[in-house]
Amino acid sequence: MSKQINVALIGNPNTGKTSVFNALTGLNQKVGNYPGITVEKKEGICKLPRGVKAHIIDLPGTYSLNASSLDENVVIELLLNKNDKDFPDIAVVVSDVENLKRNLLLFTQIKDLEIPTLLVINMSDRMNYKGISLNIDYLEEHLQTKIALISTRKNEGIGRLKDLIANFKDLPITPCLNASEIDQDYFDNLRKAFPNQLLYKLWLVITQDVNFGKTDRKEIDAVANFKTKSKGDLKRLQQKETIKRYQFINNVLKKGQTIDVSQAKDLRTKLDRILTHKVWGYAIFFVILLTLFQAIYDWSSVPMDFIDNVFASLSEWAKDMLPNGAFTNLLAEGIIPGLGGIVIFIPQIAFLFLFIAILEESGYMSRVVFLMDRVMRRFGLSGKSVVPLISGTACAIPAVMATRNIESWKERLITILVTPFTTCSARLPVYLIIISLVIPEGRFLGLGYQALTLMLLYLIGFGVAVISAYILNKILKIKSKTFFVVEMPNYKLPLFKNVALTVIEKTKSFIFGAGKIILAISIILWFLASYGPGEQFHNAENIVKAEYITQNLTEEDLQQKIASHKLEYSFIGITGRAIEPVIRPLGYDWKIGIAIISSFAAREVFVGTLATIYSVGSDDEETIKNRMAGEVNLVLGGPLFTFASGISLLLFYAFAMQCMSTLAIVKRETNSWKWPLLQLVIMTVFAYIVALLAFQFLK
């Protein structure tokens, strides 16, 4: 039994690091989180020659070992902590042939850590296109490493890469330059003070706040206190170090790389001229957004209807085929409708992540950031806020995490605070079902009223997000440097494999993440709705029969009356009716009230909750939608879901902060309960007022 080789994939953003990861691991990968923080941890298994296996970690993209964000910090913490179970036997630095110079900076830093380091030069297929040629032998000799020239797009060179990983013991571990020359005296003293530690490791500890390995914590504290230089001096020294590294890289590349500019073809300039044009740029962006909404609404409605019907029949089938009893009821009325409420989202979630993955992969997202920065700044946001606001249409949780690369704390905080206003995919099922109930089917200028309503809701979400940002920008007195750097990567045709894996991975984690909550809530709700305390519940049959004794009801109607009487006096009914006075002015009954309360676990629970509540005690095979349409408003008469109550509900869901996971993530990212609580109170009160006004005016 040979031991697994631990491999860490490290590289700048946009070098195709993830493509290399996908090429090595294929479907043998899993995505989790680093313990205690919300940075995504991707790991996978790769089979190497001679039966050896490699455990591969895809570390977050970083430009250097001087971390400026939580994600980047993960990289140093792993590389500095020899006791970590994932500590790499070999570091694989992924670079892109067109940006070799910049990519090598990180490489030289990692070499200083004396870990066996392998250099991957990716996108070799673009070398001819850009007129680049490389002297690999020369580079290997001077960079003290082995090089794998590969193309993930053409699937070339992967075999050699695997061979090199398997033979990691042959890699030299000597640094390729002597960076301590920048201040020999200082580093000599440092070495004397801590003779057992690696010099570069000491330097990293001194210049930044890294926390690694509890075992050598004491000594590290001592190192961090080794302050013989002022902060300003240290910064100047870091600057000198960077210049020194670039000098070395420039010298190596002078002989190791030749670029024949006359051979280079430039697609970038042509595309940029259109995509960042002051008119066309915005127009194209708008069209892309329109297509996105069209996809979510129209294209995914077919599979969604199908799923809805399948689950309705499945429920009915379970009831018919299984023996009567509590378990069958739990299955048919609790679990199956609950599961249906999860599975029904798959088409939309997949479409959303598909679009976002393509926009990111192609390099277009950076252009949007560039295009929108000036406009967004007016509202106290950054161009980089566009990415969270767009991915907020999928889910606010990754969106809040996506704010990490916004450099200014104030801009980042405002982005985090307003992102939950954007219409996330969890609101979508609520919108879809209510729109289909209360908005007529007609068309206006070829666009359906229903699709227009949905589009309007998205616009309202964005609008309110931007307006709140503007207000927050005026109120919040936070001083922070407004500073902004965004790389403009080359345009690339998205790799099918990368896009597909992202879509599968994200959809899966959404379904299982949210799915667990939805399923649990469905089961709890079913119990609460099927059992109750007291005379009214247990004796429901006799009470109802006595009440309707004079009327000649059919058996079916009578059963229906009994079931609804029972529901009213079940645990859930009692709770629901207790809160009814608060929500009645908005046009809701107690069942909607229960659905709203359970929505605080996750909004998408709304549909599942109503499905569970309505299906308890009902025998017919019905889709969720038909059940809702059949509900009667007991106070006003007529259907419960009217134009007024529907709009009121839509607006309530548009603005209310109903997502515990988002609150948790905001707490984590802002490191304080103040901001999430503020979000919860302000958004929910605002939602209540708007919904109240809407219902009272439209009634």
Binding site: Y63, N66, V486, M488, P489
Partner: protein, 78 residues
């Protein structure tokens, strides 16, 4: 007065001569924004800001405010 990066016009080139290190984060330096390196303005965003630059072969965008802390010598094409 010496030119700063913020003074570059569309397509113009220069060599970085000095940077005011208090205003420039390390990250920008690490991306190649260092004295002696070549820089070209690729494009200005609508509303003239941010600036899309080619610095030392790396394409990136920064705001004008930051650019005004980077001193350059303009290169005029021969």
């Amino acid at each position: 007065m010496q030119d700063t990066l913020a003074h570059l016009k569309h397509g113009e080139k220069g060599i970085i001569t000095d940077i005011s290190s208090i205003h420039i984060p390390l990250k920008l330096l690490e991306m190649g924004c260092l004295p002696g390196n070549f820089v070209q303005l690729v494009q200005l965003a609508p509303f003239q800001d941010p600036m899309y630059l080619n610095i030392n072969g790396t394409h990136l965008a920064i705001r004008k405010e930051t650019a005004s802390h980077i001193l350059i010598d303009k290169i005029t094409d021969e």
